[in-house]
Amino acid sequence: MSASTHSAVDASGHGHHEASKFHIFVQLAMILAVITGVEIVLIYIPLAKWLIVTSLVTLSLVKFMLVIFIFMHLKWDKLFCTILFFIGLILAGGTVAALLALFHVEDAKPLTTEDTASIDYVVRSA
């Protein structure tokens, strides 16, 4: 008797959880659409460039996290899935940051046509 009651409670709880998931997904899609709209409006607002770039990156990050934790179920899955994905994500982010930093230095800038012409002149003179 108690076992059947227990399973009935579990089943109703499970059903309620699944029904609320439907609403969560629809609400999340609306939030993502609104954030995208805000991003588009943001680029036309006459504010400091650094402020807009920071806002755009933050909004993209928020969208990214909302999708992976809710649409991709990371919120409900085991922690190991989150750790596994974030290993790849951190390595990718680190690669992007390292490459941008490496190519930001003066010596890494690509040569222009004038630069190559002057190098040719120096080589020929020598």
């Binding site: 659409a33 995208t36 991709m72 899955d77 790849g88």
Partner: protein
């Protein structure tokens, strides 16, 4: 259907038969997506590096992009993610008909996204002269967005295969031949509808929203329109299902793994939309 009888009995987030407690298919997909992050990280950083430096033959990029088209594509991909999440949800509850509808919706939205990308690339190549080898921007832009487009195309193919899989009869009767016909009709409708859609857009661009545009569209793309219409009737015919099928809650892990891939394609586009498109307008 036996799978319906078991509704509510399967724990979709944990699998006690594996040592990690995570279904193996899901674990594999997360590991693959982690590696794909690094792949796209390399492509995005290459594009950004060459954008931050002045390179020869650089085109007027703001004049090149259409923010309306890209915003529309982004919205479509976000909504396709919603339909994919709902498809997974429906499959976890054993609702086969709802799963099919959501999968079809995701396929249609994925195809709309691909059509927008084909239109964008065609416009860049034929009207703006931007090719893979015309400038460094062309090389990195096409490589990055083209790779993402390939991921979307693979996702659409996977969705179509899953949709067809949902018709496997429970009584064990032969279905492979019917599946191939189903796939062929899908391929035909995809190609014909994209061609017809692009033809319609070009006709409207050339003549405006007039009767002449409709006349030009029908004259140039009559075959594509007929093939699309006949193919859609064929899909409706093949999509009729009155028999019990061997597809239900037990297949939720397959649909969920596919959903993870599709959402990943969406999050990559979230980054590309900001890094490649929006930042150019500043």
């Amino acid at each position: 259907m036996s799978t319906h009888a078991a509704a509510g009995a399967i724990d979709h987030h944990h699998d006690h038969t594996t040592t990690t407690g995570i279904p193996n298919k899901k674990l594999f997909m997360w590991a693959f997506l982690a590696s794909d992050c690094m792949f796209f990280g390399a492509l995005i950083s290459t594009h950004l590096i060459y954008r931050l430096h002045q390179t020869p033959n650089q085109p007027d990029i703001v004049g090149l992009f259409s923010l309306e088209l890209t915003s529309f594509s982004t919205f479509i991909l976000l909504m396709s993610s919603l339909l994919m999440a709902l498809a997974v949800n429906a499959c976890q509850k054993g609702k086969v008909a709802a799963t099919r509808k959501m999968l079809l919706g995701t396929i249609v939205f994925g195809l709309i996204f691909l059509t927008c990308q084909v239109y964008e690339f065609s416009h860049f190549v034929h009207e703006k002269g931007l090719t893979l080898s015309s400038s460094m921007f062309g090389s990195t832009f096409y490589t990055l967005t083209g790779t993402h487009g390939c991921h979307v195309a693979i996702g659409v193919l996977w969705l179509v295969l899953m949709y067809i899989r949902s018709f496997k009869p429970a009584d064990g009767s032969p279905w492979i031949l019917k599946s191939f016909v189903h796939l062929a009709v899908f391929a035909l409708v995809t190609v014909a509808s994209i061609k017809a859609l692009l033809g319609g857009v070009h006709a409207v661009q050339e003549h405006g929203a007039t009767a002449q545009a409709i006349s030009t569209f029908v004259h140039h793309d009559l075959l594509a329109i007929i093939v699309t219409a006949v193919g859609l009737v064929g899909l409706a015919f093949l999509g009729r299902s009155s028999k019990a099928v061997e597809f239900g809650e037990a297949n939720a892990i397959d649909v969920e793994s596919m959903g993870l891939y599709w959402h990943f394609v969406d999050i990559v586009w979230i980054v590309i939309f900001t890094a490649v498109y929006l930042l150019e307008y500043l």
